[in-house]
């Protein structure tokens, strides 16, 4: 039991330090349309919601890291929160330390630039710390192809890209569309072709099965919005 005393004491000190300004920073993971979203929670408000991984960390891990960094800054006041650039990255800064990077992926789905997103996140965080209600705008996703954009639950999913020629998995794709249709997608088939000598064509088709040898069965109402490849 004695060996746990320092740990408990450290945790208690951390909690006291964090709550010195009367603000408690935590994080949580929420399932939104089939994907895991990380949320920074400040006194029951959500100033920052993360949907994409970055720096090898999942959205939940990123949110947890931000909460941890904020908790470790004793007597942190809202005026110490700002947006800025450290090196080549825009982000939210507290006491000269980068709390979170405003990455391109989040900037684009919010229809803004990394600097704009950093400014928005910093503003939301300051408001949440002062108890002002924050209204976080959910990131937009493309509406399903061929249908109206209104009143449709959208979702995103990461699936493997399979080459139709070789049957090999050659990367990963983020597929977006109506939630009901995205659930059906198990892979993206890459159909390859050539146009002249110097143009390579790669058709990307969300499909229902990973079997690309037989007939491909497209999942309508879905499309690829991002691809990832591994450096071998």
């Amino acid at each position: 039991m004695k060996r746990y005393v320092p740990i408990i004491a450290a945790l208690a000190l951390l909690t006291i330090a964090a709550s010195a300004y009367g603000v408690v920073f935590t994080s949580r993971t929420v399932n939104m349309g089939g994907i895991q979203v990380g949320e920074l929670v400040v006194d029951n408000q959500v100033p920052i919601r993360l949907r994409f991984s970055a720096g090898g960390l999942s959205p939940a891990e990123r949110a947890s890291l931000v909460a941890q960094r904020l908790s470790q800054m004793s007597n942190l006041s809202p005026s110490e929160i700002s947006s800025g650039r450290i090196g080549s990255y825009w982000g939210v800064i507290a006491r000269g330390e980068m709390l979170i990077t405003a990455d391109n992926a989040h900037a684009m789905v919010n229809n803004t630039t990394p600097s704009g997103l950093a400014s928005s996140w910093a503003s939301q965080l300051r408001k949440a710390m002062t108890g002002t209600p924050v209204a976080i705008t959910p990131p937009t996703t493309p509406a399903p192809i061929g249908r109206g954009a209104a009143d449709v639950d959208t979702a995103q999913k990461v699936v493997p890209i399979i080459s139709v020629g070789s049957g090999l998995r050659i990367g990963a794709a983020l597929v977006s569309g109506s939630a009901a249709q995205v659930v059906k997608v198990t892979a993206v088939a890459q159909v390859e072709g050539q146009f002249g000598d110097r143009v390579r064509l790669r058709g990307l088709v969300p499909i229902e099965t990973e079997n690309v040898i037989g007939n491909l069965k497209r999942v309508p109402g879905t499309a690829v919005i991002a691809v990832a490849d591994v450096k071998l």
């Binding site: 994409f52 991984s53 970055a54 720096g55 090898g56 990455d103 391109n104 992926a105 900037a107 684009m108 789905v109 229809n111 803004t112 630039t113 937009t140 493309p142 509406a143 399903p144 192809i145 061929g146 249908r147 109206g148 954009a149 139709v164 983020l174 977006s176 569309g177 088939a189 159909v191 072709g193 146009f195 002249g196 000598d197 110097r198 143009v199 390579r200 064509l201 790669r202 058709g203 990307l204 088709v205 499909i207 007939n215 491909l216 497209r218 309508p220 879905t222 499309a223 690829v224 919005i225 991002a226 691809v227 990832a228 490849d229 591994v230 450096k231 071998l232």
Partner: protein, 143 residues
């Protein structure tokens, strides 16, 4: 008189020969080399689009709605870095001018690229997303 007639015959023969030769059309490789990706997409975009649609139809996975080939612009530099085919309802696809590409690295070995159909080719001033349009194909150019 006779020499004048001969000269006229020679000129006529040369003219006939020149006009009957096939005109050397600029191909996409030359267009890429000389004028870059933006020009090549503008000139050959419709042909590439038809080629892609034929390729997909052969596999039985042609798109519903309209498709269009547009340039891919780097969101960081605004430069032309490739081309993409977008698909969706005709009224929306017609407003797409380019696809903005953002790139992020996850760890040391994973690279993720995000593609957003946009209504302006000036992505440095902001990304104006066209909702309801999706990416259907990527087109790589060998420069």
């Amino acid at each position: 008189m006779r020499s004048g007639f001969m000269l006229m015959m020679v000129i006529t023969a040369v003219l006939l020969l020149v006009t009957s030769l096939p005109t050397p059309a600029i191909d996409i490789g030359d267009a890429l080399t000389a004028f870059g990706i933006g020009y090549a997409v503008r000139v050959y975009g419709n042909q590439i689009n038809s080629g892609l649609n034929t390729l997909m139809a052969q596999r039985g996975v042609e798109w519903e709605g309209t498709t269009k080939v547009v340039p891919i612009l780097s969101i960081g530099t605004g430069s032309y870095i490739g081309a993409a085919q977008v698909a969706g309802p005709p009224s929306l696809v017609n407003t797409v001018k380019a696809v903005a590409q953002g790139e992020t690295r996850i760890g040391n070995s994973l690279r993720a690229k995000l593609f957003i159909p946009v209504s302006s080719t000036n992505v440095l001033k902001g990304v104006k997303r066209v909702e309801g349009v999706g990416l259907s194909a990527l087109i790589d150019f060998k420069l």
